[in-house]
């Protein structure tokens, strides 16, 4: 499903990184491991179409991501990828439910609230549905951001250090949720982390 080939990135005033080739099949999970500054986040951004590589190919089935126009790439990302960041971020003016509806609106899809409500119920946050994101704890925020990433049933979920800011209890909840939710959606999951707590859950690793 996802295949990379000879990816390379040259920072404007810095080093050049050559990334290893790898692939990720549908429903497969993988860990992207590496030291700080090894380019993990840069690679994740390249894979998600947020930052163009200096050279190389990112292939999704029959689609070469960087042969698409900028607008097409935005639409492709919106429809096929779910992104989770280290620090959960939200549109602060919107409620939890509205934040979950935002990806559907931004990608011109039917804003069906049922799935969002069901998932919130599943993670025990249904009662926070009308609250603002800043009213939630960091663990709750991360769970909501995971739901937002899968609300459109994407084929790929990219998570950038999703547990590094969480304590053990919250981290385990988030790991479990991400694995279950990606399995339920038959989505591939690529987690960028240096958090050792993931290693016992995912066997496939890509090292930078």
């Amino acid at each position: 499903m996802l295949t990379t080939k000879e990816l390379q990135y040259q920072y404007p005033r810095g080093k050049k990184i050559d990334f290893p080739d790898f692939s990720l099949q549908q429903g497969e999970t993988g860990l992207l491991l590496g030291e700080s500054g090894s380019g993990k986040t840069t690679l994740l951004h390249i894979l998600s179409g947020l930052r163009a590589p200096t050279a190389g190919v990112v292939q999704y089935d029959n689609t070469n991501l960087y042969q698409l126009s900028s607008g097409q790439r935005d639409a492709f990302r919106g429809k096929n990828m779910g992104l989770i960041f280290q620090t959960p971020a939200f549109i602060q003016s919107l409620s939890v439910l509205e934040n979950l509806m935002a990806p559907l609106y931004l990608n011109h899809q039917l804003q069906d609230q049922h799935k969002a409500k069901h998932l919130l119920e599943k993670v025990g946050l249904y009662h926070k549905i009308n609250q603002r994101p800043f009213q939630l704890s960091i663990g709750e925020q991360q769970r909501v951001s995971i739901i937002r990433a899968v609300i459109q049933s994407p084929q790929l979920i990219f998570a950038d250090e999703p547990t590094s800011a969480l304590d053990d209890k919250n981290a385990h909840q988030v790991i479990e949720l991400l694995l279950n939710i990606s399995a339920e959606n038959k989505a591939s999951l690529l987690v960028v982390t240096h958090d050792h707590r993931w290693s016992s859950f995912i066997s496939k690793t890509i090292r930078l």
């Binding site: 947020l50 935005d74 639409a75 960041f85 602060q92 003016s93 919107l94 931004l106």
Partner: protein, 430 residues
């Protein structure tokens, strides 16, 4: 969810940051809007009331005051003139029409004006009820007078001496009652605010309180008729001898004559005829132009201040959008990461600005109407003039479109920055 709702929620979330800009805009636009309506309505009033009156003949004093007092009835008259003196002007062949006005009394502060039937005819007044006045103490009342005083056909009332004394002023009250014989339809002219009666009524009402004239007048037809009035007719280059002959009313006084000239030459000829008298001719075009210039100067100053405020308001909106962009940079990058196109975030910023400006516009309309309402109340108290609060000018539409355009311009720099944002760098906090 849609773009407008999202933009509105963003504005509401940071309403304190944008409040100043919106308030400044509302104040600036509201002031301009109010001035537009004041200019429009006062211009309409001026034109409606001046209606082909070229000159006003009255006692010496301020020519502008003469016009304001006799055409618009918003100022005190400059004094009275004798009919005998006025004859040389009103019977001049260059004069097409001269309407006498005599006043000095009021009923509940509504002016009672002694005149003839031509005054109402000149303004194309139509009677809603009753008939035109014929006898002394018959009164035809304007629509505003009828509404404010509650006078109905057949009602009688007592006048009070002076132009602003109240009805309870016993000391200055006249004791002969007027009878309402006709009520005019609303016309939008000055007559809406007047009580018209034959000019003889005014003379008789004041006969008791004023010393009788010591001068005796010879008369070749001895009827106590109305003051001379020249009607439209074929041009006469010679004074009609009969009209210029002495009459019993020659020593009577009127406040002024509204004059319509037959030819432009009248403006050169007539002033020379009254050089040595206590009379003056005020030219409406000149005086109204002077008034407009003075009035316009004040209006222009207020307008200039309002434009500066509007400029500041757009600068304030620009600053608040710019700061908001800095604060929400990560949020916008997040939207992009969720699939929003660059154009969508551009449109979001522009929509936020347009919503802010629209809010300012709505408040400006409210502000201008409240301002106009207060002004109207004050004008009504002082001069029985009112402003139409529900009025609307096409210039307000242009102003609204211009404000929205400026709203787009103020948002362009923040919106372009959002459009060109490097999402990856922003999300990576680089």
């Amino acid at each position: 969810m849609n773009l407008i709702l999202l933009a509105w929620k963003n504005i509401r979330h940071q309403w304190l940051d944008t409040l100043l800009g919106v308030l400044l805009l509302a104040f600036g636009l509201g002031t301009i809007s109010m001035l537009i309506l004041i200019e429009k309505q006062s211009s309409e009033q001026f034109n409606r009331n001046i209606k082909d009156i070229d000159m006003v003949l009255g006692a010496k004093g301020s020519p502008l005051q003469l016009i304001l007092a006799n055409v618009y009835h918003v100022d005190a008259p400059t004094g009275n003139i004798k009919i005998r003196d006025a004859k040389q002007v009103i019977y001049n062949p260059t004069v097409a029409m001269a309407i006498p006005l005599a006043y000095g009394d009021n009923f509940q502060q509504w002016r009672i004006v002694g005149t003839d039937s031509n005054y109402a005819q000149h303004y194309a007044m139509k009677l809603r009820e009753g008939i035109a006045f014929k006898e002394e103490y018959d009164a035809n009342i304007g629509a505003d007078v009828a509404k404010a005083t509650g006078l109905k056909l057949g009602d009688t009332f007592l006048s009070t001496h002076g132009l602003d004394q109240t009805e309870n002023d016993e000391e200055h009250a006249h004791h002969h009652a007027y009878r309402v014989v006709g009520i005019f339809e609303k016309s939008g002219s000055v007559i809406d605010r007047l009580i018209l009666t034959p000019v003889e009524t005014i003379w008789h009402a004041h006969e008791d309180s004023e010393p009788a004239s010591t001068e005796t007048e010879e008369s070749n037809d001895s009827t106590n008729s109305a003051p001379p009035m020249i009607k439209k007719g074929p041009m006469m280059m010679l004074r009609p001898a009969k009209a210029m002959a002495p009459s019993p009313n020659d020593n009577k006084e009127v406040t002024a004559y509204l004059i319509k000239s037959r030819m432009a030459m009248a403006q050169m000829i007539l002033p020379n005829l009254i050089k040595e008298t206590n009379m003056q001719l005020a030219f409406t075009a000149i005086e109204v132009n002077r008034l407009s210039q003075n009035f316009g100067l004040g209006m222009d100053t207020v307008k200039a201040v309002a434009w500066v405020i509007i400029g500041l308001s757009f600068f304030s909106i620009f600053i608040s959008l710019f700061n908001s962009l800095k604060k929400r940079k990560y949020e916008l990058a997040l939207m992009r990461s969720m699939g929003a196109s660059p154009f969508k975030v551009f449109a979001l910023i522009i929509t936020e600005s347009l919503l802010l400006v629209s809010t300012g516009i709505i408040f400006s309309w409210l502000f201008s109407r409240i301002g106009l309402s207060i002004l109207s109340h004050q004008l009504n108290n002082s001069f029985h003039y009112t402003m139409n609060v529900n009025d609307f000018s096409i210039q307000e539409v242009y102003l609204t479109i211009a404000a929205l355009l400026f709203g787009v311009i103020a948002a362009l720099v923040p919106a372009i920055n959002a459009y060109k944002m490097d999402i990856s760098k922003t999300l990576a906090h680089e």
